[in-house]
């Protein structure tokens, strides 16, 4: 199944009328999630008819305001709208204290459980337990502790080879077990290994999100061969010095990262408010990595396996 992404905010620290701060809506199978939640994210969700009640998990990459200041208001609104279902929250350890201090100041008791999972920006880690996909966090190179995320669909049931059904006369009642990975025992007692009679299901899509970072070889390994890489591109290459000072990337650097990691597609965003028109950043990236796309608030992506992408 494709991974669906909706860009809720494609701007950086100072929001503009065209670009909200960072937030991506993400759907994998039936699981809706949010990555980062800058100020105004809940209103962007309303605008794009994405219902907060459906959210199962929120991932916060780091504690710069443009990546999480929309979170207290979103949680408060979910509470006021009667949410009871638990919410998984992933973020830097101080995040939960910041939220609790705000709830305390407003004497609010949130009527649903927030299951907090602290993120540590030391090394790549598998985080969370989801039925249809895995999530890894990995350290980025930013001014403060910051993690990227990689989402990979899990393999589904294996597909049974048509020739095997015929050759071994596989009984119907065993087919599900075989699709789950069981070997087949013939009536004469011979074991046929699962991989001789099945093949892996295809169509596994993957998505990685690098919010705020200087380019760094350290995280290339984790984002290898991802179908779609979102990577910040705050500046154009002529401001590379400014990018280093602020631990950000240029569009060319984002493209080089995608090229080195052999990503299928590159989505750039987190554009500085100085760029009314990001066409020069897009052009700069495409010279290095042709499959680059520039994020726009409201843009929807369907990420298929085999590096096939549909943008609407």
């Amino acid at each position: 199944m494709p991974i669906q992404v909706v860009v809720l905010g494609s701007g950086s620290a100072v929001p503009t009328l065209q670009r909200n701060p960072s937030a991506h809506w993400l759907r994998i199978h039936d699981c809706d999630m949010l990555i980062d939640c800058g100020e105004g994210t809940q209103l962007q969700m309303t605008r794009l008819q994405l219902r907060s009640a459906k959210l199962r998990a929120i991932f916060i990459s780091h504690l710069h305001g443009d990546h999480y200041l929309g979170l207290p208001g979103l949680i408060s609104s979910m509470h006021l709208m009667g949410r009871k279902a638990p919410l998984q929250l992933f973020g830097p350890p101080p995040l939960i204290e910041l939220l609790e201090q705000q709830f305390k100041a407003s004497e609010s008791i949130i009527n649903f459980p927030i299951e907090f999972n602290p993120l540590f920006a030391d090394e790549p880690r598998y985080i969370g337990a989801f039925e249809h996909f895995t999530v890894q966090s990995f350290p980025l190179n930013h001014r403060i502790a910051c993690t990227g995320f990689r989402f990979d669909e899990k393999p589904g049931l294996r597909n049974i080879r048509k020739d095997a059904i015929k050759q071994y006369q596989l009984p119907v009642e065993q087919l599900h077990g075989i699709r789950q990975g069981n070997d087949f025992i013939t009536p004469s007692g011979k074991r046929i290994p699962n991989k001789e009679i099945t093949k892996a299901s295809k169509h596994l899509a993957s998505y990685a999100y690098c919010s705020d970072t200087s380019p760094d070889p350290a995280y290339i390994q984790t984002i290898q061969q991802v179908d779609c890489l979102y990577h910040e591109a705050t500046f154009a290459e002529n401001l590379v010095g400014r990018a280093r000072d602020t631990f950000h990337s240029t569009a060319a650097e984002a493209a080089l990262t995608a090229l080195t990691a052999r990503a299928g597609h590159l989505l750039i965003g987190h554009f500085s408010a100085r760029y009314r028109d990001v066409a020069p950043l897009l052009a700069e990236a495409r010279e290095i990595f042709p499959n680059t796309h520039a994020a726009i608030d409201g843009m929807a992506l369907e990420i298929h396996s085999d590096k096939h992408l549909i943008i609407s």
Copy 2:
């Protein structure tokens, strides 16, 4: 001079596409201020071409998220846009800690001084020192500590009576002193009291802001005869029970408050998200207090003395 108000948010806790959470821009003489700062306020300012660089003071009524969650982002943006001028901040004592915890988590050092003035919701108090106006805070009756605000233009220089100029042959070089309140000593040494030769300047406008409150006689005295009263009207009268439970007011109660306080005009706002159309709330209030107006995001008011109001 008229007091100018621009409504940046007229909604309540859950923002909608029509109504942002609470925030009013306020200009008295050359001093620009903000009262409350819900999530998204900085973007509303951008939309309405109100420049944060001009803000001298921000007043936060209480620590429910829809009244202050836009503040950390606004302060961060002012910092990123190079502000150096001090900002006066008025709010409940925990506000400054909440901000400092966020700046600490993001390892941010704000490059301009924030002069914090804690507000105490125990009794009416004069707060702040402004050249052309006074500000009072006063307790409202809400679920948590919450203050209203009243702004009154200070009297300007007194006007010299034309007959006195002729009668006493007032020398030009003494006119400014007399306008400031000096008595006049005649050449023969006789003292003419200031009030015999001058009259008070007119045109003193006033504005009061009651953010979130159950109606309460306790604050009527402080808002007496204000030219324009902003008062929350979260619900219509048929939800008066819900208003009591949540320490809010109905439109009818806001109108009765304005009537009792002999206000010139009443602006109602903080409408519950359930009201797509607030015409019934406006009609309900106008039955009691005809000079009622319903706030809309982007609405601008010029509050003149003598209860004269221009809305655009």
